[in-house]
Amino acid sequence: MTRQEEFRRRAAAALANPRIRENLGRFGIAYRTARQNALAVLDYEGERARLRRMKEDAIERLPELARQFVEAARRVGAIVYEAKNAEEANRYIGDLAKAKGVELVVKSKSMVSEEIGLNHHLERLGITPVEADLGEWIIQQAGAHPSHSVMPCIHMSKEEVAGVFSQALGREVSPDVGLMVRLAREELREKFLNAGMGISGANIGVAETGSVIIVTNEGNGRLVTSLPPIHVALLGYDKIVPTIEDTAAHLKLLAKTATAQHLTVYTTFITGKTGAAQVARPREFLGPATGEMHIVLLDNGRWAMRDDAEFREALYCVRCASCANVCPTYRVVGGHVFGHIYTGVIGTVITPFHHGWEAAAVPQEACLLCRACVDACPVEIDLPRMIVAMRGRIVKQEEQKKKAKGIRRLFLDAILPNPSLFNLALRLAAVMQVPLTRGRTVLRDLPGPLKRLTRIRAMPAVAARPLRSRVAKVLPARRDSKQTVTFFASCLIDQFYPEIGEAVIKVLNRYGVTVHFPKAQGCCGLPAYYEGHKETAARMAKDLIAALEPSPGEHVVTATPPCGITLKQYIPKLVKGDPRWEGRGQALAARTLDFSEYLVGVLGLGEETFGEPAPHKIPLTYHDSCSALRGLRLAEPQRRLLRMLTRYELRELDEIGECCGFGGHFSMDYPDVAGEVLGRKLAAIERTGAAVVALDSPGCLLQIRGGLLKRGSPVQVRHIAELLAEELD
């Protein structure tokens, strides 16, 4: 099975359980507002920059800080064990428990313990580990795995949870949340009092004092570290920071982004051996705080991650799960599909280092590169960049094992990079599609192997004549020409939506701009880049630089934001280090502007309307493409242009910035997942009551227009360029 087929299989299983996406979907909406409110009291950008700097510095100085931490912890009586891998950590803890005659272990939440499979190891030794965090306890009783790193059983209903309680307690428990929490308190209280060992994770380790900082809301962390006479704190090296004062931004942002609190209820600083001297038996003093403290510091791939320039920033993670909460596809498939043992986006990115590349190959497919997670991450970790880097390595490994699929490779590595071949292929398609389209411009249902393409939306027919055949090489401005630009069309506009290209040219011409259209231009390479075919993408980058370089336009203008990102951001990276191309790549990037940005920023449009407003305005809504909004940081120019229109009034969507689920190949490969994402977008559009959806990216246009058509909706979908051109008629 290819990784695509395997992902489809797993996603189908998740989609069969509506509970997952209902819970995650509802949570996603509530989370958005709660998080916004919590963050409103601080300077988010400032604090996250501070946190980022702190983590960068800590990981940079890790060798020295780790040594300092170990010494400081030993000074206050902790016994520190440095474990290279999961086996070593498990063996140490298991042997310790055996040696001390421990039969019962209580645990507060520790993701590292899941990482190494500690419970399993203890059970094999005949020791009973009991999870004390409510969510983890439920998951443990159910014999399942957490699906979310902050809320482990978010995929379960209270009825399901009541079933777990009934089973665990051996009596009928009704699905009353308050009651269940009380029962858990009673049940676990017994465990706390009788356990011989408490195992905790740690959110932070402090080098200066050897303290471990544990953050919990329920209070289990404090009991696990106070009642049993042996406390084992299990943490990765990545958690070490210089001093307690360095944790300010971390503590604030973690609470605000993870659970929308100002601070988590219990933030506990444990420095040395502070647990009880003996197991607490009723009617006995616990005596002085002389219990043992063991700290297990775990490598298990962390040092390798630190040494890997592409993945080092994954070590800055504070485990807030924001990246999962805002991820459009996580919210559809959940953490059992998007993730391995560590769930969600960051979980998938670190999986290769802890659990191997095989384990990460399928889950990483879930990313459609919308970049929502980057904005939400309090450490500004570029997760999609790492996902693309992972894909690159996975593709390489598959090639070595000859696992790559023939047609896919042929398309990405041979046809797409060759503009004439690509054009030829689509011309062929334009002819072959005739029996299907019978003259129409949309295809509602494709047959046979192409069926998947139209499962969730109608597809545009390939244009009878591509833009490159419809327009000349130079398109002069009517009036005195003030400016010249080079138009980079993009494959979608060239082959599927030439009318958008014509609208772009018309608007530019009308504002005194002469447009050059170099016919040698082909694809920017984005599909190859996103799918991990980095060498092909680099080859295509050079071809495009060469094709656009001689064209005299002062700026290169594109009306396809994802390709704009390629030109501005990816191409310079792809040719970096190649002395013949590096400077030329940067020059292209510097010259490139998005259509809206050019009109507003260079031509100064958007100050006034086209004329008298119409008496009855048509409601219109605007869909921000992920690429423009988060990739190019453009949201205002498009709105300024829309406000110029005389016939429309803008009604904003209530979920600005949510992805439409296109994601290039993603919606072709995984229509069922993409369809759920699209469904949410279409519902938001319907809620505005708009008759027209404006947008700035042909990919979103394909997805949203196709989705509306499939639903039989009368709502029209137009590229901004088309709306502007219409006013100029």
Binding site: I138, V161, R185, E208, G219, Q261, G291
Partner: protein, 213 residues
């Protein structure tokens, strides 16, 4: 120990500056602590606090109240007040063990206005557990130990922990921000999981001894 002195010096400056804004810091503290689900009362006379605690205990049907030490009970006139209300008092590690008290009374080392947190810095297990095991936790906080920002709170925490750590002494310090809570089942917020269900903070007049002493 130049490092410790530096930290102490900065802490001292912070404390001096905060004292001038004591009451505005307090009102921020009260608002934030209550937002987190705590109940804050200001007390003029420590001797009267015992009666408030007793009334609270009675209203909640508590039969055994336990305070960390006899000094604390005496400062608050707790014994007399509780006897009057018919509630038993234990002080220090109790011969009844740690599992019975419905209410635990402890001191708080400091407060942090920005987050409404109190610092419960109790190194002895039996004392510390009084802020963890009972259903109700009552904490006494002196007005002049409340700092304004989270950063100042961390400076104080660093000082306290560093001071013992340099001497090789272990320590255990929690910032407590409201009663214990969970939202693990269907995200329904539920108060009172493994820790207290109620957190009551009594703010006492300035102690005048300086912070962290």
């Amino acid at each position: 120990m130049p490092l410790l002195h530096q930290v102490e010096e900065r802490l001292h400056q912070t404390w001096e500056a905060s004292r001038r804004r004591q009451y505005s810091i307090l009102s921020r503290f009260v608002a934030e602590a209550e937002r987190a689900g705590g109940v804050v009362r200001e007390a003029v006379d420590p001797q009267a606090v015992g009666f408030s605690i007793a009334a609270l205990a009675k209203a909640q049907g508590i039969t055994l109240c336990q305070a960390t030490d006899p000094d604390l009970a005496r400062d608050l006139n707790l014994e007399a007040a509780l006897i009057e209300a018919g509630i038993s008092l234990a002080t220090g590690p109790s011969p009844d063990g740690i599992v019975h008290a419905g209410m635990g009374v402890t001191r708080a080392t400091a407060g942090v206005a920005e987050t409404g947190s109190i610092l419960v810095h109790l190194d002895e297990v039996d004392a510390r557990l009084l802020s963890m095991l009972p259903e109700i936790h009552v904490a006494l906080l002196y007005l002049d130990t409340v700092v304004d920002s989270l950063e100042e709170g961390l400076l104080l925490t660093r000082y306290l922990i560093l001071r013992s750590s340099l001497l090789g002494r272990p320590s255990y310090c929690s910032w407590v921000t409201g009663p214990s809570r969970t939202a693990d089942i269907e995200r329904v917020l539920t108060i009172g999981v493994h820790g207290p269900r109620q957190l009551h903070i009594f703010v006492l007049p300035p102690m005048g001894k300086g912070i962290g002493s």
